[in-house]
Amino acid sequence: MEKTKTINFMAKSSRHRRVEQGVIAVLIACSTLAIFTTIGIIASLIFEAIQFFKFIPITDFLFGLNWSPQTAIREDQIGSGGSFGVLPLITGTFLISAVAMALATPLGLFSAIYLAEYAGPKVRAYIKPLLEILAGIPTVVYGFFAALVIAPFIRMTGSEIGLEVASESALAAGIAMGVMITPLISSLSDDVINSVPQALRDASLGLGATHAETVAKVVLPAALPGIAGSLLLATSRAIGETMIVVMAAGLAAQLTLNPLQAVTTITVQIVTLLTGDQEFDSAKTLSAFALGLMLFLVTLCLNAIAHQIVRHYREQYD
């Protein structure tokens, strides 16, 4: 009756193996979704943009000084150029982002410096998450606040000192956006500043430098590449931000660099063009995709450069 135990090194049943392979196939499929998403984005944007450039020559789009898509609906105007010049949108986007960065850079950097260099662990443990709340608040909330509180305030202050301020000024949207991206800069810069070796601080302090001198002349220059990376990421965020500008910036495309005037941005125009009736055979609707493609490419480049810089920086001190 006794059976000797056999030792079998052969593979398990083929059904068993098929199940395993099936599972792995599903896993692979899930992980490639990111690639398909990217392909989907690029393909759909390019496809629609090409349709658009059949109406409007790409040079008119890129170098035109006038943006007023409404007038181009009329039959005789299609392709007549001039109405789809993207430059005012680019300057508008640039203007608001510049205001935002002008506010967020000092706020974010000084917060990061204080947290990394001066604050004790307890203060840090409270302040850091508090600052990060700013990044977690939905952007409609910032947009609402900008339109309801900041813009009227700027207008009032402006008229008090005799300045002409538009009711939807680039400044109002820029300020709200600046606060929104501050935690992005502060938390990335904080990491970067923390990774500067203590030996450099010791060297400077040992020479009799004050803490501030050490930070300004030794730590920050050493951390500069990483900080630059964080600023680029923040800029990319500002350029792609939609709700704040939709709610607090204007709709009229103006070629101006005056932050007290109303300007419009690429994202605002995409939203405006695509809410309401869409006709996928009109230049008006299709232009949104040309704008989207542009936005995607610009933010992609900024992000790629930023990631490269930050990675390079990390390797330097590892």
Binding site: L27, I35, G240, L274
Partner: protein, 420 residues
């Protein structure tokens, strides 16, 4: 040599110490400014929004004369006419047409409907005179809440002197009451601020997040498992990795464009539906979930894998029986944070048409719906002053959900932190 050793600072050094203090002060000022903005923003929105808890009602005596009703068709009766009659009876000296219109405007345009509901609920009331609390119109509500300055010149005021006069009379005999505002939490959107509620938007957000979670959680987790546990380190997996990092930084509106062209135009899925909204948000959330899940898989010690493998488990068994369950809390935490982000997203939903005027509560993921942040955007755009209060209140509700979700994530993380 020893005599010139000094530790008394020179004037030059004193100046340097001053700039040290200034420098520290900049840091504090930056933090205070950023947090001050936060407090100011939340504070002012909260201040503007809390009023929504109460709704002003006007108490009227209404005569329900039997001859005004057809018992077979109660519905057909002219309920708003009855309300108007009651108002005229309350203020008999109002004669001219313009004044009368103002008078009828004290109560919401929905007042007749409120009366109908009451009568339908209890037909025995017909024939008697009843007391009923009718919703005041938005301007009156705003005025009662003290948000309209009486001292402004009349022409700059939405509420005129006559109306103030009537209100004061009504107040004098306690006919103006503030009750808990159930309508805000139980009704959908409306053109009339005093009737507008967030329920349809909340349900829309819920359906959208549900779709988003059901898609992004399994896909994100499985992708993370593949990348962390199975993927060979080669160019292909590098490509996936780069893609994930880039997607995490693509502007959200671009995802909206993708949803519009692919999901709506190519696949023909229903426009404005939570299904499409959830799919678009899922694409945005997946990178977040993958990144968080990979981190939590990496935190599972290799000894667990070795233990399972050494007793003859396959790699798939090892992963799904031992590693993934240990990493699950971390994955869930990451997903909750991702869901919280998705809950606040507005722009991509606008792109796929979830920006509609939705009165009815959506019953499925295929019906047109809107979402809470989009509702906020829509209300913020409305000219009526009273919508400021609704918008602010909706923001408070939205932030409330975000706080709950993030606290949940934090608690989950705390609970499972020191496992290994």
């Amino acid at each position: 040599m020893t005599d010139d050793f000094t530790i008394i600072p020179t004037p030059h050094t004193r100046r340097r110490h001053k700039s040290e203090l200034r420098f520290q002060w900049y840091g504090k000022a930056a933090i205070i400014a950023a947090l001050g903005f936060l407090v100011l923003m939340i504070g002012s929105i909260g201040y503007k929004g809390v009023g929504v808890i109460y709704q002003t009602k006007i108490e009227l005596d209404i005569q329900l004369n039997a001859d005004a009703f057809d018992p077979a068709q109660l519905r057909k009766a002219d309920f708003s006419g009855l309300v108007k009659t009651a108002l005229r009876a309350r203020f008999p000296d109002v004669k001219n047409r313009r004044q009368k219109r103002r008078l009828y405007g004290l109560v919401s345009s929905d007042a007749g409907f409120e009366l109908r509901k009451m009568v339908e609920g209890n037909p025995n009331l017909i024939g008697s005179t009843i007391k009923i609390q009718l919703t005041a119109s938005d301007d009156i509500d705003t005025f009662i809440k003290g948000k309209i300055d009486k001292n402004l010149p009349e022409s700059d005021r939405r509420v005129k002197d006559v109306e103030i006069n009537w209100i004061e009379k009504l107040q004098a005999d306690n006919s103006v009451v503030q009750v808990f505002n159930t309508a805000f939490f139980t009704s959908g959107d409306s053109r009339e601020p005093e009737l507008a509620g967030i329920l349809s938007a909340l349900v829309g957000s819920f359906f959208t997040l549900l779709v988003c979670f059901l898609l992004s959680f399994p896909i994100g987790v499985l992708a993370a498992i593949y990348l962390e546990e199975f993927a060979p380190k080669n160019r292909w997996s590098d490509l996936i990795e780069i893609n994930i990092n880039n997607l995490a930084a693509v502007p959200s509106i671009v995802f909206g464009l993708l949803g519009l062209t692919i999901f709506l135009n190519t696949f023909g899925l229903p426009r404005s539906s939570p299904l499409v909204g959830g799919m678009v948000l899922a694409l945005m959330t997946i990178p977040t979930i993958i990144i968080a899940s990979r981190a939590s898989l990496r935190a599972v010690p290799p000894s667990i894998r070795e233990a399972a493998l050494s007793i003859g488990a396959t790699r798939v068994q090892t992963t799904f029986h031992h590693v993934a369950p240990l990493a699950l809390p971390g994955m869930l935490t990451g997903s909750i944070v991702g869901m919280a982000q998705a809950l606040g997203e507005t722009a991509p939903l606008i792109m796929i048409g979830m920006v509609a005027f939705i009165v009815d509560v959506p019953a499925s993921i295929l019906e047109p719906a809107t979402a809470l942040p989009v509702q906020i955007f829509l209300w913020a755009d409305s000219p009526e002053r009273a919508f400021v209060e609704r918008t602010s209140a909706a923001i408070i509700v939205l932030l409330g959900f975000l706080v709950v979700m993030n606290l949940g994530a934090i608690l989950l993380r705390k609970k499972f932190e020191q496992r290994f």
